[in-house]
Symmetry: D4
Subunit: 252 residues, 8 copies
């Protein structure tokens, strides 16, 4: 139960729209639900503002679908990331209205559109065409959580004017997510242009002494620009999630 839902429920009780007994049952629904292979943490929405997200890697299609069913029933909102093709098909079959983001390997289930949270917006900047799937995972995540978010693609540092052309947009954002493979230099350059929190996402795009993302990861951790924080290689989800938390501001 997300905080807003809880408050709504309590208002309903005060206004007589829900009996205390019914409200009690709904609130008392066990915060932890046990499946054979998973222990669902329904209370997480209360604690952290969003229901548990399904991490698809290493789960069978049946497991993903079963977990999605429980979460959807309780929260009306499900985000599944790193969903492999078979699990994707299984979800689409089980939830005909599922939004499937193929390139980003994400699936979203929801009862209604989120309202924009926070006064600002998240800007996602991406160094190369091959980094797009990760950037889109960040985009889908931030939007599903309720933030407004936009994406600027293919503005790597070897063609600075491409980036400088977006300077105004960069400064208008509440928080910037920068996605880059190869040498991962883009966050340092962007970080010198803005006074916003900047979340850097290294990608595994590269070869040889790239070591599947180690090169840009190290570069970003050592950025000479202040205010840069970093997430795991290819972790668009984590960046989108953290960006939303920054953008949302304090819940009132």
């Amino acid at each position: 139960m997300r905080p807003a839902e809880l408050r709504a429920l309590l208002r309903d009780v005060r206004r007589g729209r829900a009996t205390p007994a019914a409200a009690a049952r709904r609130i008392a629904a066990a915060p932890v639900e046990r499946l054979e292979f998973a222990t669902l943490d329904h209370e997480r929405a209360l604690r952290t503002g969003f229901p548990e997200v399904i991490f698809g890697q290493g789960k069978t299609p049946a497991q993903v679908t079963a977990i999605a069913r429980r979460l959807f029933a309780r929260h009306g909102l499900v985000l599944a990331t790193r969903v492999e093709e078979p699990a994707c098909a299984a979800l689409a079959a089980a939830f005909p209205r599922a939004e499937v983001h193929e390139r980003a390997r994400c699936v979203v289930l929801r009862r209604r559109r989120p309202r924009g949270a926070g006064a600002g917006h998240v800007l996602i900047v991406c160094a190369g065409t091959a980094d797009l799937p990760v950037a889109e995972e960040a985009l889908v995540t931030a939007r599903t959580l309720g933030s407004r978010a936009e994406l600027v693609a293919d503005v790597g540092v070897a063609g600075l004017h491409r980036l400088l052309a977006h300077r105004r947009r960069l400064r208008a954002a509440r928080v910037v997510v920068v996605v880059a493979g190869l040498e991962g230099a883009l966050p340092s350059v962007v970080g010198g242009l803005v006074d916003r929190p900047l979340i850097a996402v290294p990608t595994s795009v590269g070869y040889g002494a790239h070591f599947s993302g180690l090169a840009p990861l190290l570069a970003m951790l050592n950025s000479c620009a202040a205010g840069v924080t970093v997430v795991n290689v290819d972790n668009g989800f984590g960046a989108g999630y953290a960006a939303h938390l920054v953008n949302r501001g304090v819940r009132s």
Copy 2:
């Protein structure tokens, strides 16, 4: 020239307190100043809201002091980090009112106290006594930049109740910085308790297969808690800086 100074200057012009000519001279003061060994980026305060920070490592005491002099003359506010003992002494001699933070190896020079920026505050949580110097670097940084900030020490995960006792404080913060060495598990546990952006700082406290901070760095990058972003090993400065940017919100 920080943005607020610039706005004040322009207001002075409008009100006739400053002649356009004088204001022009002051604004036109070259944004880049060249020393033999450094190219100072005075415009950075305009771009990113804070003057260039002096990174002390690898600079001689004479270089650190010379750079500090120029920055202080232009901005009235200087933060120097990773200042080795001799450079520290040189700064203290040159600026008798310097604030020296010994354990954190930081020196702050300023004309007046900052006002608290942002409505919220930064909470810095630290896993062990040996991680304190890094946590204090984050604390000094966030405060020097203008945020309110507090520190909770020695609440490692092997004694959960120590941490749980601070749950309320954790939830009251706008952003949480978590500093941990050894296995770096604290951010994951804290991340499951709050719905705030969490910036994780691995430290080099450990031995053997710790590889001077690699172990907690990897742990934090792989955190199962969403919303965790990471900075370099022992980079208290970077965490405090990013936390301030989150806390400050949008400048109006």
Copy 3:
């Protein structure tokens, strides 16, 4: 020949149920048996209490089956781990009563059920759904060796209450095995809650800077909780084996 069998045989001799000559022949059966591609160590059961375990990786189906035949003939008890699909099928064909544990990739052959060894039991705790195959390898191993063993699934540290709900069970165990991928923080948290030997198993569940299990391996080796020992990445077998040795206590 396992120690219990040897003692039984010697008692039979004393009681006249077996002639010394027959017993001698049986004992004298060569402790080492040579196949073209393997040298079976039949004496291991005497030395370490359990016959040689077949490590399936890198062996052909024919090799696995041939070794299983010899071990089964001598000891009536065979455990094969990391059995690839074709070798699994070959074993199932050769031993119709084989117990095949698919997810754990283990096969067990035995003449009769083991009696519970030791007064206590082994508790296996697993951080995420994707870690289950490794946890089950530990479970199958401990049970095949004769220990009572139980499994608690999906109680990662980002939802502490899921774990705390099992506190009593944790304290009731003689030894705890903790299986975790991602950042591998679970052993540190569990280790702070119990006063039992804790065996930590990192898994390869993760991506990017996880390096196929290196991240949780380093985390576990650097755990701030005392009493934690570690086995190789994905080595559920090793953890289950060691846990059994702890649980069994001293043979009398």
Copy 4:
């Protein structure tokens, strides 16, 4: 308060030797004590059977002494490991009856000798003379915690007969700790000789492609002997602690 103390106190209450009020005061003594630089976890003794151990690395002599004072006042038993020379001197000055184990860099403070816990004993086996400091850290730890423990030195695998000469002793132990640098082969050889839990400790003794203990660490994690678990490089403390937990058996 250690569990035995708590039980004794409660028995005293039942027998009228202590008033409930006094007992309540004593039990209620806050489980967490805050110093400026540390948060002492006094409840740990209750949870895990032994008071918090002081990890000396990265702590100043003043910090180590202050923490030792508080722990000693509450528990009458203190173990400090990785105590650098100055902190060692400070402790010896503050506690004239401190037992200082120089080579092992441990200091023990206690009101009375421990009684032997567990029916069995811990055997520590050490491959080379240069590994002795780590082996002795394990020895001091296990003994301080209450186990009987013995040490066999310099029985590396290149001279097998040295090891085989101790075969009987190896088999008599409840649990074996094997300490080795260089290639770390000793645990595999010992593991093939015994049916006891074996805790392997890699040491940083070596050079070149030893990478300060990485070589034996990897070797031990990949041991072909079943039942081997591993602790961090040079972590004699961790091995001694875990060995004690195994040896102690279940508290009754």
Copy 5:
């Protein structure tokens, strides 16, 4: 032209069995032969005693076959290693009398059997069944070069008596090759038993923190037994070649 052939030719000239002109033509045959994709080093047999060996990895079947044809025409003796399946088939088709060693992925072409070179023999010892392909590559190589060579399989250190049973054979060899995966402890144990040069071959058999052979490679490089030298992971060829050079002694 191998040295023996050259001496034979020169003796033929002295004895009048070959005209100087013919001999000159034969000797003058260009030592380097250029194909489009390869530069054959025919002189190598003169310099090092054996014609160039074909390293199959990364070469197309057509390339392997073309090179083999030229070498066979000049030297009557070809060894190809790491021959992938298609190249293997191509060679078998082109040379109906090719000896194909499937498990070792080697192909040998020769006009006549080699005579045993050297007074001694090479003993190859192998820790586990899964290490056999590498051990056989060493065996085929040593024999093709002309040494007598034998193989002892599956005598890992966790069952020492299996190894000790071969002590006499170990001591009878001129040089010992030890092949081992997992923790790579076998060379240290064997090295303590013999006074012969010992060539250690790590294999990629293992998983997790084995890093595809890094673990035994480091172990072998750090062996506490003197006289151990090491080759690359899975490099049975290199070990067999070096062992032959040791065994052959000085050519007279």
Copy 6:
């Protein structure tokens, strides 16, 4: 627009062959073109002398073809590297006159042959047959950019005379590219023979402790020959590009 084209256009204007208006339109064509998934940097030809090169890895066939179309329309010259098989087919279908270099995985599109740039030529030297694809990528790149270039194959250091036979050719080149896998020793040997800039390319040809090119990469970075610079593993393109820049000399 490449510099030469620009100069030609301006000459046309001066000579009245083009109206200023038409020339202005052509020059003003936007330097940055936005596709949904890419931001083309048309100005790069002006800045760096060659249009953007398409890096095929991680791009879909449709993306590669769309980008190629735009670049070809603007510049009449396209180089695509690391083109996977499907994208290769797509390009060949879309541009029937495309030059497809299969082994090098490059595709070149151009309106007319380049004239030889620079007075000298590029010599590419390759250690083994398996390194050829990388060497050919360098060859195709240098030639497409306009340099004369030649390739010498299979002259590894274990057969020095093969290399020494080319000494004259080595000295005749303006710049030498050396491609080598395995231990990567060739650049050091060649570097000692010539007084030309030498660009070393490590390849992923090798196995075991080769770590997919890490071994020769480290070797080349540590070369004892002065004047050696290095590019990424398997980066024939980068070496060919840099060699062309050296060879071309200063544009007049």
Copy 7:
């Protein structure tokens, strides 16, 4: 004997200024000179255009001085790099006119000033103040070899305008050397601005996950800018040497 000297000598012979006998003696002076601890390669000047450079690391002051003496006697030109303080003092004592470059740890001995080689010049660009020693090593090397060379300091990517202010200078150079620590992003940005060969030098300036230069080294090897080649960490000498070879053009 450098090529120019050789040609001059031969001209002298033709003109009768030197007798053939004397010239022969001078040319015949042994190209290799053996000291107890070194084998001097006097012919190198002929082969590569410059006498052997003394690499000071790991050599005693006596060794450095002895080698310098021989080289100076033969070539009148000596460059010593990585000269530790004591060797520096020894050289200064032995050669009162030695040029000592303290920060760069280089010593130069020469009979006369070099004339500028090549029509162009080398531009060295340096990201931060702490990278200066490495940049100066490059500067001293290029100048000692005969190139004109300049240095631009402290123009890191977080303050792009500092760099862009030098755009004209960048384009005027024949070859650019870019020296950077931290994340090593500068070569990518500079590489996008120029059409010159660019030699990137990572430095060890940084901490934590910088791994003493590994981070910028990997970044530079993976640069998205074409035409970038890389030398070892802190290898200013190598970069200066290679840059000179590029700048010098073809000797005529």
Copy 8:
């Protein structure tokens, strides 16, 4: 007791020069001697032909001296390697006739000169002046064990003619040891010139991406020359020992 001594003793018995009782006492002298900190393996001389060698690293001067005393008393021949300065002084004080090899950090104690073992000799080749200490450790070791051995210094691959000048010496040796730092290319070049076993020793001479010897270690393990085996970084002792075993041939 070395084998030769044992045979001499037995001959003395047969000839009546020693009573069986005395001989028995001498033979029966315990093969293992226990000190508090060491277990001396006196039988090793019997098994491997040479008494235990003292590895000085990590041992105190008192320990080194005590062990040396026992070994000298029993075998009349002691080799101590990696002897730190204080232990060196202690040995020199205790054994006035000790041979101290400073640069190689070895100390040798012996009653009489060894006779040359083996018909051949060991040739040690060293790439640079800074590699000499390691090369000398190999030299001292091989000579102390009884081989004839010679050293050729400073013949790195960037000056091939220096090496080629020694071609005859290379071919005359029974076994070649090649010591090299930096990129470690020398073994590959030498390996292509000889048909002898070649033992390669990487050294830690280098910087940056040399990783203290990792670069040449990997290079040597991946050598394209057949017959190359490798020892640990800086392990001159190991190379000298193995070379002696090869050179000695079979004891008769």
